[in-house]
């Protein structure tokens, strides 16, 4: 089969690989129909995630058709169309039994601290091959994949694999009360869905912060939010405080993660000198723009071992910091209902589609945010 593989920072190529096969009785093998490129794939592309080995296949947002079924799989059969959560979860461990599917302890041999197994996200999350390929192995098929309703298209539900539930969980962890003001840092795909979810949870005011004019324009069109381009103001924190009556926002959401812009010093320390794990500027701004006693919700991806974060400010302001990788499986039925009933049209954020062989070009476009790119989707088998 063909698959998109990593060959070093800034270098991904489509290569031929052996087809995946059933390796465990609870596996299925999928023929991938749609695979999206996630903002967090860029952290891999930039070599920021430890234990990213040469030749690994990327991609953790995908839909597909079941091709092969392991002997102990009970809920899926050949030909079923499914959307697959990015986290691989057993459904039975201490954490899965408590709803923390992102923290499953039976799918990632490489780490006790860093999440469950994840498709196409380095050996730090288990080294499982990703979905930016023609075929992919899916472990614990009775737990992760969700069948796509017959009357729905793959692209309508593709983002249930990660970014839609992640954005929703971001808003949910913010514990938004009716009428509250929410600032969402980052207007990429996760940020867009966090903004939308904030409205669904009763926010009175939502402010989107980013530096890419096209993304802010899209956020305004897509979600009707107020926007702030932080490169157009002297001091984004002061500006946001002024915009929120001097006190700050009730809830701040970090939908940016480890490659934030906005601080030359932090970028030098984190990205050039590797003295911290990327850049936590967005998180610092969350802490600095939340009101005293407010909530900060973190879904932007950070890695080990550490980051410079103004934890003293957070402590002295009495902030509540909440964070996790998304427990995708918990949100699937609820968000599927929102999509079916027309409250969320996730497909609208797709701006570009590419065949698999042009995946490196898609990465380049997505990385540069060029040509109004919000979200790229790969079609490993064409339109079929």
């Amino acid at each position: 089969m063909r698959a998109l593989a990593y060959f070093g920072p800034g270098n991904v190529r489509v290569v031929k690989k052996p087809d995946p096969r059933i390796e465990h009785p609870q596996d299925v093998v999928l023929r991938v129909t749609r695979a999206a490129i996630c903002g967090s794939d860029l952290h891999l592309l930039h070599g920021l995630v430890p234990d990213t080995r040469v030749g690994c296949t990327l991609g953790h947002e995908f839909t597909g058709v079941v091709e092969e079924v392991g002997r102990d799989v009970k809920t899926l059969k050949r030909g079923d169309r499914v959307v697959v959560p990015f986290n691989i979860s057993c459904g039975r461990c201490f954490f899965c039994e408590r709803g923390l599917f992102a923290n499953c302890e039976n799918t990632n041999p490489s780490s006790n601290d860093i999440a469950s197994g994840v498709y196409g996200y380095s050996h730090t999350t288990g080294g499982f091959e990703g979905g930016q390929a023609e075929y992919v192995r899916v472990p614990f098929a009775d737990v992760g994949p969700t069948r796509i309703p017959e009357d729905m298209e793959d692209e309508e539900v593709l983002f249930l694999s990660d970014i839609l539930p992640t954005g929703y969980q971001a808003a949910e962890m913010g514990e938004i009360q009716k009428g509250e003001t929410v600032i969402v840092f980052g207007s990429g795909p996760v940020g867009l869905f966090a903004q939308l979810s904030a409205w669904l949870m009763g926010a009175g005011r939502v402010i989107a912060v980013d530096r890419v004019p096209e993304r802010l324009h899209f956020a305004r069109q897509f979600n009707g939010v107020e926007i702030l381009n932080f490169e157009e103001v002297d001091d984004p924190v002061m500006t946001l405080r002024e915009m929120t009556g001097g006190r700050g926002a009730d809830v701040c959401i970090d939908a940016v993660g480890m490659e934030a812009e906005g601080s030359t010093l932090e970028r030098a320390l984190g990205l050039k000198a590797n003295l911290e794990a990327g850049v936590a500027t967005a998180l610092a701004w969350c802490i600095q723009t939340a009101r005293k006693g407010g909530n900060v919700s973190i879904v932007g991806v950070y890695g080990p071992p550490w980051n410079l974060v103004p934890i003293g400010t957070a402590m002295n302001k009495g902030l509540t910091l909440r964070m996790n990788q998304c427990n995708v499986k918990r949100y699937l039925p609820h968000l599927l209902k929102h999509i079916r009933e027309g409250r969320i049209d996730a497909r609208r954020i797709i701006t570009h589609r590419f065949p698999l062989e042009r995946a490196p070009e898609a990465y380049d476009l997505f990385e540069k945010r060029a040509r109004g790119c919000i979200k790229c989707v790969l079609l490993p088998h064409g339109e079929a």
Binding site: F7, R53, G55, F140, M201, G202, E226
Partner: protein
């Protein structure tokens, strides 16, 4: 902010969402609240699980009490970078050295892969040159 979404040209594509729409305003309507619920197995989770035997070397973090149930057989550690990775996996992950060694192994593997590729090209070019030279000499 205006709640008349049509008036300012916003939301025309998405009438049910946006300001004023509060489907999940009640925290009990939110599926992830509370984030950690009382323990219960996922309804379709397997009752009996076979522990997968890896076909290749799979590095395990120290301190793990039992093997995980599924593993990946892709990209086992190999060569010099593999030696560094094995060394990293002798150090618990709360020590920064674990991650520094892994990052070093990543960079080394990329450079060695690139060098191997260039060596391949160079060897090919050299062979071609030698053949052409031999033909010329005849």
């Amino acid at each position: 902010m205006s709640t008349d979404r049509r008036a300012d040209g916003l939301h025309t594509h998405l009438p049910p969402a946006g300001p004023g729409r509060v489907d999940d305003v009640d925290p009990t309507a939110r599926p992830g609240v509370p984030m950690e619920h009382l323990p219960e197995p996922f309804p379709t989770a397997p009752e009996r699980v076979v522990v997968q035997r890896p076909r290749v070397e799979v590095l395990q973090i120290p301190g793990r009490k039992k093997p995980v149930w599924v593993v990946s057989n892709a990209q086992p550690p190999r060569g010099l970078s593999g030696r560094l990775r094995r060394r990293a996996f002798r150090i618990p992950e709360h020590h920064p050295q674990h991650w520094m060694l892994l990052l070093a192994a990543d960079r080394l593997e990329v450079r060695l892969t690139r060098a191997k590729r260039w060596l391949g090209f160079a060897a090919g070019a050299l062979a071609l040159w030698a053949v052409l030279r031999a033909i010329e000499d005849r």
